[in-house]
Assembly symmetry: C2
């Protein structure tokens, strides 16, 4: 099957492996690209030199297209953009910031640009800024998210009716059934995060991977809505933050408690007590670490079975 997303990225299947902080290094991105989907390096947790190294290692490990996810609020954003252009990266996903700031620079360098949004307003802004596609991410997604709390089921049909560029659905997609659901809603492709955070090639700490396996339905929560909305797995840190929110602790007090580098501590260093554990609601039914090749083939198989079964259910 070819569609607007497989053609835009020159990939085999319309699936993107999300560029997640502390999970999406060169091992994960190149494994994804080598398995016919789009691999993304997550620049959000990398110093500029580290990013350069990961780009070079990805280029060495795959001949297929790959990209870099760049949170636009990154402090050294100029350096990051320079490295991406210097290294000849062909695809950039931007998130967490205004898409109009960097899109024209990236496009002028011949780069395909995709922007991540979580509501209709920013979908329209992104389309206006000239990006080639958008990722529309629902409330159930892990990590940073929007304030509107619009779910994937509701967000996707609304957005595909309002923009003409391709839409990649994200949030709540971890298997072939949810991929089929996203495509039914009108998406041109899907971006999958959490399932790849739990892959063998993910650079997440083993303790974090174990915590994802132990997660159950209801184990994650979108919190810190007035600081920076983020979906986290319950742990002593997250529970304490929720207690402070419930008790109406001041924003300053909560920011001080949050401090810095909590995500690195939890996701990369494996501190399950004090770290931030960014993961989606689908963590409730992910029960084993698998290699990327196996994840992709399981998703494909279940997706194909699902659409075949569904095709016999006309009413």
């Amino acid at each position: 099957m070819n569609n607007r997303i497989t053609e835009l990225f020159n990939i085999k299947y319309p699936i993107v492996q999300a560029g997640m902080i502390w999970c999406s290094g060169w091992r994960l991105a190149s494994a994804a690209s080598n398995n016919g989907i789009l691999g993304l390096i997550g620049a959000g947790s990398m110093y500029p030199d580290v990013l350069r190294e990961h780009i070079q290692k990805t280029k060495a490990a795959t001949e297929n297209p790959f990209g870099v996810n760049v949170p636009l609020l990154y402090p050294e954003i100029n350096k990051i953009i320079d490295i991406i252009i210097e290294e000849g990266v062909k695809i950039v996903f931007t998130s967490a910031g205004n898409p109009s700031t960097w899109t024209s620079t990236l496009k002028a360098a011949g780069i395909t640009v995709v922007h991540v949004i979580a509501n209709e307003k920013f979908a329209l802004k992104a389309a206006d800024s000239g990006v080639d596609a958008i990722v529309a991410e629902g409330f159930e997604a892990g990590g940073h998210n929007g304030k509107e709390e619009t779910t994937t089921m509701v967000l996707i049909p609304g957005i595909v009716d309002k923009v003409s560029i391709p839409v990649i659905a994200a949030g709540g997609i971890a298997n072939g059934r949810s991929m089929a659901a996203a495509m039914a809603l009108g998406a041109d492709g899907v971006q999958i995060g959490s399932r790849f955070a739990l892959s063998r090639e993910s650079s997440a700490h083993e303790h974090f991977k174990d915590a994802i396996i132990s997660a159950r339905e209801g184990s994650t929560k979108l919190m810190m809505k007035d600081i920076v909305p983020v979906r986290l797995l319950e742990n002593p840190f997250a529970n304490r933050m929720i207690e402070m929110e419930t008790a109406c602790a001041s924003k300053d007090e909560r920011k001080e408690f949050l401090g810095r580098a909590r995500a690195k501590k939890g996701m990369f260093e494996g501190d399950l007590e004090n770290g931030e554990l960014e993961i989606g609601q689908v963590s409730g039914y992910m029960n084993e670490v698998l290699p990327v090749s196996e994840i992709v083939s399981q998703i494909r198989e279940e997706y194909n079975l699902t659409i075949q079964k569904l095709s016999k259910q006309s009413i």
Copy 2:
């Protein structure tokens, strides 16, 4: 197409019109049943005698199967159950309460029983209590909801893997694309609320219908999580309640402000300032009042087109 849901209820299409308070009277329920789906009377907003009248009028208006939705926390629940049995109602959807309390009584009277849940724990409890099917309702649904905030996209695959009885998906479903998505996730049928709240046959006040038409993406919010979680449309009442929540007003203070009969005031009497307006996230893209016949045929048409299109997208 016949499946476990069309067979369980003896209906043509695996679609249930939700038994919503202040919207789902005999006009809506009989119109739904006359159009090949399951119509439900919403007992939650009816005095016992009013419910009896609506059951009798529905029986007079359709020869097709219909049912009654009963919130189990209803104060005069004994009277309601007696009336349902006396009037020979064949299908009951129970919600907001413990399914084990009434299921055996209803089953002994030959009634098909369905219980509404919003998380896995209660799905398993409902199955254990002997119900014939469950409605699994995601975070995006209007009105009363669960505390886990699990969305339809995530909830349905998790639940269909854990229970053997049929699962009806609810929350975020308002058109043929979202119906196809729900079926792809593994549901045996769908329950649709908000779209029918905006039908010609809905008993919602015209002002409330106008407010639904004006709603945009992000206009609803799940609030009052520590009193009774409910998704409401933004209006002066809801905004004031959110302000009180943000300012950490005490539960007693917020309960006093909430008072009683806010839903009747808003949804039935059309007081858009002071009333509670229960509606789902899909209100963001519902733009006209339509007769039930037209809603059902639009959903069917789009659903059939969607599954046909999807069947050509194997990967």
